[in-house]
């Protein structure tokens, strides 16, 4: 009986195909929309996270307080032990990246190896050389290289392209870096510029230099030390989860007996991206905007689905008349209609999720290149529109998809009560 009914439903274009298509498109659009909005926002957040703050960050309190001075003497020692602790006490999904934030003076020599120009720079050191390092991908260094290559050997440097212009430096130029070591001593070390990078943020393009972590540790005499541990969740993890992990890590932090090489006054703190640069407030506000947009959109989709339900219902008045004439009770008729609506909703939602989800996934993984006009704006991270597939997006699509389908059918079926069987039967002849 059920298969008979099911086959009937599928064969009848009006009964199945139209509402199914509408539900599919509607759900797909909502999934896409949520994914897109999440993607745009998370793109913005991730830009900050990737460059600067991480999703989670372990840093010495005294370093954090004087971050503007980049006090290397407040670094955290015992890299391996610290990493082990972080891996053990955070979520297994989190990838922990050690970094050093440093500041120094760049001395550019002329061909006689005498000082030609000097300028202060800010720098970041990160793992740029290990084969399994995520950092290159994270900062999209490959695609933002304007000239040259990524560091392969030791003491190689990537430089913001505008800084290179100002210093009149090209790839291959040797550079001396003059700064302060971990313990306050003088540091001078030679580097070679191997690549010029376009970060897309003027301040960085003009003042930023990237070097490999191991090189930095050797230059600043910071063996086994870093200033920051940045934790990254895979894309798709909701940022509420960041807070949960942070919370549990805080508890762990209180009971941590510090590694032997840490200074007595080292007191690491754990921060999430929410705690930095007021991202928290922006996130909250974004949730409101997203809720608003998705709400309006869902409302519109419900209207469309409802309309589709009504249309297909009206189309079937004749059939209703026939069935009532055969003696089928009204409630049973409406129940089967509701069941049909439910099935259409479920199947449409599934198809829509699949369609919208795969498109959003494509946007997440590959992105939508907005072309040259966009590239001119020079934003390394944002020249490609990206989405983010989230569970929330599916829920926000599926629930109204099913609901509207059933509700639309039911509203249409209400009309059956109003009309006499004869009327409906006449409409059968007409239809």
């Amino acid at each position: 009986m059920i298969s008979f009914w099911f086959r009937g439903m599928i064969r009848d274009k009006a009964r199945f195909l139209f509402p199914f298509t509408v539900v599919t498109i509607g759900v797909a659009l909502v999934v896409c929309l949520v994914g897109f909005m999440e993607g745009v926002f998370m793109g913005m957040i991730d830009m900050t996270a990737n460059l600067d703050s991480g999703h989670l960050r372990l840093v010495n309190q005294s370093f954090y307080d004087e971050e503007h001075l980049r006090p290397l003497d407040r670094s955290l020692a015992n890299q391996r032990e610290t990493r082990d602790w972080l891996v053990k006490h955070s979520d297994p999904e989190v990838d922990w990246a050690p970094r050093i934030r440093w500041g120094a003076i760049l001395d550019v020599p002329d061909e006689k190896s005498e000082t030609r120009s000097q300028t202060p720079v800010v720098g970041m050191a990160m793992d740029l050389k290990s084969p399994d390092s995520e950092e290159i991908q994270r900062l999209r260094l490959k695609s933002s290289l304007v000239q040259g290559t990524l560091p392969k050997g030791s003491n190689e440097m990537l430089m913001g392209f505008q800084l290179a212009e100002v210093l009149d430096v090209s790839v291959g130029q040797p550079i001396t870096l003059i700064g302060q070591s971990f313990d306050g001593g003088l540091v001078a070390d030679n580097y070679q510029v191997v690549g010029l990078v376009r970060f897309g943020i003027t301040a960085m393009d003009k003042k930023m230099v990237l070097i490999d972590l191991a090189s930095a540790q050797s230059t600043f005499y910071m063996e086994d030390m870093v200033t920051d541990w940045l934790g990254y969740f895979p894309s798709g993890v909701n940022f509420d989860h960041y807070e949960e992990v942070k919370g549990s890590m805080k508890v762990g932090l209180a009971n941590w007996s510090p590694p032997k090489d840490w200074a007595k006054d080292d007191s690491p703190i754990i921060l999430s991206i929410r705690d930095q640069q007021n991202i928290g407030a922006i996130m909250d506000k974004f949730q409101v905007i997203k809720g608003f947009v998705v709400g309006v959109f869902t409302f519109l989709m419900i209207l469309v689905l409802w309309n589709a339900g009504i249309l297909s219902g009206i189309h079937r008045y004749g059939e209703m008349g026939l069935r009532l004439a055969f003696g089928e009770p009204h409630w049973k008729l409406i129940l089967t209609l509701a069941m049909e609506g439910l099935w259409v909703g479920i199947l449409g939602s599934l198809a829509g999720s699949l369609l919208g989800g795969s498109f959003a996934w494509y946007l997440q993984e590959v992105g939508l290149n907005m072309g040259d006009s966009f590239a001119q704006s020079g934003l390394m991270i944002n020249d490609i529109v990206r989405a983010r597939v989230t569970v929330g997006g599916f829920i926000q699509g599926i629930v109204p998809g099913i609901f509207a389908s059933v509700a639309g059918t039911l509203v249409a079926s209400m009309a059956i009560f109003k009309r006499s069987e004869a009327n409906l039967f006449r409409e059968l002849e007409a239809g």
Binding site: T176, L186, D189
Partner: protein
């Protein structure tokens, strides 16, 4: 009996200082005194083996160095320890300062902004080190009064820079008129705010001069930092090979 004599002598001495002071003050020619101080400190040539003890409030580091100086305009220093700084050389010739580190194997000009940075992490800037004029040459001195410092009577000279470009426009120096040595120096901002103090300690007679074995620098705007310069070997009027004051010394 002996004690009584000592007490009597002390009283006499006290009276002498107390009452004779005004006339004594008149006798002091501050500028002259400053010149005498310079003469005592600045030999034609000088060799020093010293230790730079840098305390940044958290950690104490000690650097050892050999320095050769000719007048006030030329100096050459070579760092001997710790291992990281070993082989680092500094050469100052007539207002220019170069640094050489074995790691970079380059001579780097320390100029402009870099001059104002702390030297080797100490409370001294490269600029402080670059001073290439005798105090009596750069400053005009006036006598401000007398003060007792570590049990020694000192004349306090107020120094005002002759040139507007001098980093510290005013200084105060505590000089013992008898020995013509400086015990303390204060360096001020133009406004008169105290920026740095230097204590000169452990004076010893070396050849014909009295020379401090220890100098303690403090940056008064910062908390808990101090740099101590200890001179272990001091030789005056030594022969210095000419190559020490040539840029060609700045290599391996």
């Amino acid at each position: 009996m002996k004690n009584k004599i000592i007490i009597a002598m002390n009283i006499l001495l006290f009276c002498m200082f107390t009452f004779v002071n005004p006339c004594y003050a008149e006798e002091i020619n501050p500028q002259k005194l400053l010149e005498q101080v310079d003469e005592n400190l600045w030999a034609n040539t000088k060799f020093i083996t010293g230790r730079l003890i840098i305390d940044n409030g958290r950690k104490v580091r000690t650097l050892t160095q050999d320095s050769w100086m000719q007048g006030v305009e030329r100096s050459y220093s070579r760092y001997k320890s710790p291992a990281r700084e070993k082989g680092t050389k500094m050469l100052k010739i007539a207002g220019k300062l170069w640094m050489y580190t074995p790691r970079t194997d380059r001579k780097i000009l320390i100029a402009g902004h870099l001059l104002r940075q702390s030297m080797m992490g100490s409370d001294l800037s490269y600029e402080d080190m670059m001073e290439d004029h005798k105090l009596s040459h750069s400053y005009s001195a006036t006598l401000e009064g007398f003060d007792e410092l570590a049990g020694t009577r000192c004349a306090i000279l107020h120094l005002v820079a002759r040139d507007k470009k001098t980093t510290y426009q005013t200084r105060k120096v505590w000089i013992t008129p008898e020995d013509r040595i400086v015990l303390k120096e204060e360096r001020f901002a133009k406004s008169g705010k105290l920026l740095k103090t230097i204590l000169f300690k452990d004076y010893e007679k070396i050849e014909t001069r009295l020379f401090p074995r220890t100098m303690v620098f403090r940056d008064m705007l910062k908390e808990n930092t101090q740099t101590t310069y200890k001179f272990d070997v001091i030789k005056f009027d030594v022969d210095i090979p000419a190559k020490y004051f040539s840029q060609s010394i700045l290599k391996r």
